[in-house]
Amino acid sequence: MKLSPPTLQDLLFRLQQFWSARGCLIGQPYDVEVGAGTMHPETFLRVLGPEPYRVAYIQPSRRPADGRYGENPNRLYKHLQLQVILKPSPSDAQELYLASLAAIGVPLREHDVRFEEDNWESPTLGAWGIGWQVLLDGLEITQFTYFQQCGGLDLDPVSVELTYGLERIAAFLQGVDNVFDIRWSADVLYRRVRWPEEQQFSAYSFEYADPQRIRQMFDLSEAEAKSLLDGYDQSAEADRPRYPVLAAYDLCLKCSHLFNLLDSRGVISVTERAALIARVRTLACRAAAAYVEQNRLRSRETE
């Protein structure tokens, strides 16, 4: 039987169907700019604490420094990730993952599949994990990570995080060299959907973004997040379960994106860079700690 290669949207459907059938909740993309699907609260916050959880969602991820005005065949300002969290990680995580490749039309016997050491780390989130990049005929298509720490907290249980690079997989399946030639649907190319966005956001990130105002926005977002987190620390225990820790986390995400913008504008010195990363990390770690405590308080209430 000869199948025509899946379109990008077929790919999204199939992967979500696959993981839905394996007990995953199908989430939606987060509506704050993020650099990776990991930053979505459905990963960052859900992996904290003891409660089991399984979720899969698509997350457009913005990396201002990777923008190439839509002129590079492989690099994008914004790309699509499919993120899967299995908490706790099951003992057959690798087999499940391989089965998902088969499900999207990769006949495994005909390809060279390999798990090569690649330990993921996000200093801005105080998060790291151990795992591999999965190579399909030499092409990196997935980051496979056993999450060890998040928001500075040791994770127990350990979750497994699968991050599929959707454009790469689609280009691979469709046999195209240029990401803009991917068929998004049967009759629309990726170029038509995304090219103006790539061009304009590259221009914004590299040329138009006003460093001074971006800095101010960073400071403001940080100040707002800080005052929320300070308020949480000072609040009475009874008020804590409904306290807007999630809003503080959103503001932390904003800081992270604004930092990326400053970085792409090339206005951050090396020492300042480390300092800014530490500021975002502090927010992320405080939000994580507050979230864990809230959950504990809430579960005590329901007992």
């Binding site: 590079n72 065949p73 492989n74 706790p88 990680s89 003992s91 690798q94 087999e95 391989l98 495994l108 016997r109 005909e110 390809h111 060279d112 599949v113 390999r114 798990f115 090569e116 050491e117 330990n119 151990i130 591999w132 399909l136 005929d137 030499g138 092409l139 056993y146 060890q148 127990d156 249980p157 350990v158 691979f172 046999g175 060299d177 010195s269 090396v270 020492t271």
Partner: protein, 726 residues
């Protein structure tokens, strides 16, 4: 399920097969882990008296570590041991009847009262019992040893995963197989229970495979597309690579590290040939090879006539490329990588290397030591001073001076490639890219090569910089790193050496010795310290900095001479005892020592020198020894003869030492042996008469001083000095 088959159990020995199944272990760790595991097994099984000289074979692959022990004892031998109990006086009362103490002791050891006996110990007479400790069957002992041996493998970084007991390992452990003569050895590790099941290849093999013995293990796994033993994988790769290359009439770009890597990256390695657009060959070979090797783990192919061919060999984890998809996939990835490299090359050529200098100010070298901009300033300052401490023996010092501007130019541009797109993408090409760009931009060959080579030698087997300018630049770069890091207390300890200072120090030693440079290490270090305080005036550093760096370099020099040049440790110690500031001179002295120590006269002379040193050390505090012996005070012929012979030898060997003909000088000195022997035969050094005694000590001290400038012979281990000390 297949029927359980039992190997015919040999009368006295059992075969043990153990396999740990794991998610993909990083390739570079596997070989060492298998070795460590073997050492632990060896240790514990010997301690448990189960091994009895049986060999242990351990090996590994991406998803499994395997041990095979062909002849283990099926149970520990029984051991009879003697245990002492209460004192004899406490064991019997006045009437000679056993006390409760004696009864209790016998009962606790499980023997009859009448079997107790008396032993004499320094503290007196005690009661004793002979107890037989029954050996336990091997499976019971293995259940304790196997988990311990696994847990003692020292992985560089471990992880947790959800499993009972919260184990830590390099990656999640997924199965345990342990069979002793066809029966499962029951044990627990990493939250799993052992069984007789293994798994085949991820996508080609079966997931549940029962194993009954080792003979069957390899063949069954092979049928399931796993070559468990790296020897087999190695042979398969070697065979296929060379046949594919030969079929194209091409040669494989040699790369032993890559070869070893692919052996441990694949369970069932198969070589395939791929091609790329010959237009990419316009890029420098170094860049193409690096992209292929480091990023894609491909072997580059060379034409027999030289130069790269537009083909590559990939090693895939499969039995064959059924429909050519692997080949076209790998080709597509390489195409994208090469296109990136070409893009970076073209983008970088839009400005000259020197234009990057200003940008180095915002790249941190080390937080306290500042930016790469400052590093370049220090390098230039050090490169200005360094040539004055160096005289390469094969070219006059003047020629170095001539190259001062060349060296300065190389130092100025050395770090400019760090901010190029190419190096940001391919960091391992730092230096190389700078050198290539320098050449492309019309810098002289000396400058370009020196920049290219500045990080060499990267290891004990790496080439040295090709020219003197490169050697000096490389020494300056490494010396600055050493002095800077020691100044701020970032001193390597244990396995932590983030700035690779050990490698830097070893590099300096290798360059000085192998490029045959005469250089004073102390002067060079002092210059590096001066450059540091000139460029980083606010930095406060410890007063003993020079000594610290020297000790560190001496340590690497010791390692180098012992491990790399095969000198005995006592040769190294003896030669270094009299100085290691000039490493080249040290190397020549050590070589001379190696040759002469095997001659007839040398060992006894060395022993005599050791004796002299002992005598002097013992009497140093008590005696006032004159500066030179007074011939008038000699009482015996033997001391006069030794004094005369020493004077003659000193004169004849001085010229030889001057000309660095150390072996010849040592032969001359060795000829003193009869005079020294006669002296010690007939003369009592510690004579009654104080002036005679002091005079003899002066004679010996002068002898020791005069002839210890090539090496301190008393450090040489000879048969007489190697005897155990009382």
């Amino acid at each position: 399920m297949s029927p359980k088959r039992h190997l015919r159990r040999s009368a006295t020995h059992s075969a043990l097969l153990v396999e740990l199944g794991c998610e993909e272990i990083p390739a570079w760790m596997i070989e060492r882990a298998a070795e460590e595991w073997k050492a632990s097994l060896q240790k514990y099984l010997s301690e448990a008296s189960l091994l009895e000289g049986s060999p242990i074979d351990t090996f590994g692959g991406p998803r499994r570590l395997t041990a095979f022990i062909p002849s283990l004892l099926p149970r520990q031998p029984d051991v009879v041991r003697e245990v002492t109990g209460p004192a004899k006086s406490a064991a019997y009362d006045a009437g000679g009847k056993p006390t409760r103490a004696a009864e209790g002791f016998a009962a606790s050891k499980g023997v009859n009262l009448k079997d107790l006996f008396v032993v004499k110990l320094p503290k007196g007479e005690f009661m004793a019992a002979r107890q037989t400790v029954l050996g336990r069957p091997a499976p019971a002992v293995l259940a304790e040893i196997l988990p311990r041996a696994f847990s003692e493998i020292a992985w560089p970084k471990t992880m947790r995963w959800p499993a009972p007991g919260n184990p830590r390992f390099i990656r999640p452990v997924r199965w345990l197989l342990a069979i002793l003569d066809g029966r499962v050895v029951s044990f627990e590790f990493a939250g799993l229970h052992s069984d007789n099941l293994t798994k085949g290849h991820h996508t080609l093999g079966r997931a549940v495979i029962p194993i009954h013995n080792f003979g069957q293990y390899s063949t069954v796994l092979k049928r399931n597309f796993v070559l468990a033993n790296p020897v087999e994988r190695r042979q398969k790769i070697e065979r296929e690579l060379s046949s594919l290359a030969a079929r194209q009439g091409l040669r494989i770009h040699p790369d032993p590290d890559l070869f070893n890597r692919v052996v441990y990256l694949n369970e069932f390695p198969t070589a395939i040939l791929g091609s790329f657009d010959p237009a990419f060959l316009e890029l420098p070979e170094e860049i193409l090879v690096t992209v292929m090797r480091d990023h894609q783990k491909y072997f580059a192919l060379e034409k027999k006539s030289g130069g790269l061919a537009p083909h590559f060999l990939a090693v895939v984890n499969s039995d064959r490329d059924r429909r050519g998809k692997m080949r076209s996939g790998h080709e597509r990835v390489l195409r994208a990588r090469f296109a990136d490299a070409r893009f970076f090359w073209n983008a970088d050529q839009k400005c000259r290397l020197a234009d990057n200098l200003a940008r180095l100010d915002s790249v941190t070298y080390e937080a306290s030591l500042g930016s790469y901009g400052l590093k370049v300033k220090r390098l230039r300052s050090l490169c200005e001073a360094l040539p004055h401490h160096v005289s390469p023996p094969d070219s006059p010092a003047a020629s170095v001076e001539l190259k001062l501007e060349v060296l300065d130019r190389a130092a100025l541009l050395a770090k400019c490639d760090l901010v190029t797109d190419m190096v940001r993408e391919f960091t391992e090409l730092q230096g190389v890219v700078g050198g290539l760009y320098a050449r492309a931009q019309g810098e002289s060959e000396l400058v370009a090569d020196a920049i290219y080579d500045q990080y060499r030698p990267a290891g004990l087997d790496d080439d040295l910089p090709r020219n003197l300018v490169g050697c000096l630049l490389s020494i300056a770069d490494k010396l600055d790193a050493l002095v800077g890091c020691f100044a701020i207390g970032r001193i390597p300890s244990g396995s932590s050496d983030p700035f690779a200072l050990r490698r830097a120090a070893a590099g300096i030693v290798r360059i000085v010795v192998e490029a045959r440079l005469t250089i004073s290490l102390n002067d060079a270090i002092q210059s590096a310290i001066s450059s540091l305080s000139l460029v980083n005036p606010m930095l406060a550093f410890p007063s003993g900095l020079l000594g610290q760096v020297r000790d560190f370099l001496d340590d690497r020099a010791r390692f180098y001479f012992e491990e790399r040049r095969g000198h005995a440790f006592d040769e190294v110690k003896a030669a270094m005892a009299v100085g290691s500031d000039d490493l080249l001179d040290l190397a020549v002295r050590m070589e001379a020592l190696r040759r002469v120590r095997r001659t007839e006269n040398f060992p006894p002379l060395a022993a005599a020198f050791k004796r002299i040193r002992n005598i002097l050390e013992k009497s140093a505090a008590k005696e006032s020894i004159p500066a030179t012996p007074d011939p008038a005070l000699f009482a015996a012929d033997e001391e006069r003869a030794l004094h005369f012979a020493a004077g003659e030898t000193a004169r004849s060997s001085a010229g030889l030492k001057q000309a660095r003909k150390y072996a010849e000088a040592l032969v001359q000195i060795s000829a003193l042996r009869p005079a020294v022997d006669r002296f010690f035969d007939k003369i009592l050094v510690m004579a009654e008469d104080p002036p005679v005694r002091a005079n003899r000590l002066a004679l010996l001290r002068n002898l020791l001083r005069e002839f210890s400038t090539i090496a301190d012979f008393s450090e040489i281990v000879t048969e007489s000095t190697a005897a155990p000390k009382n």
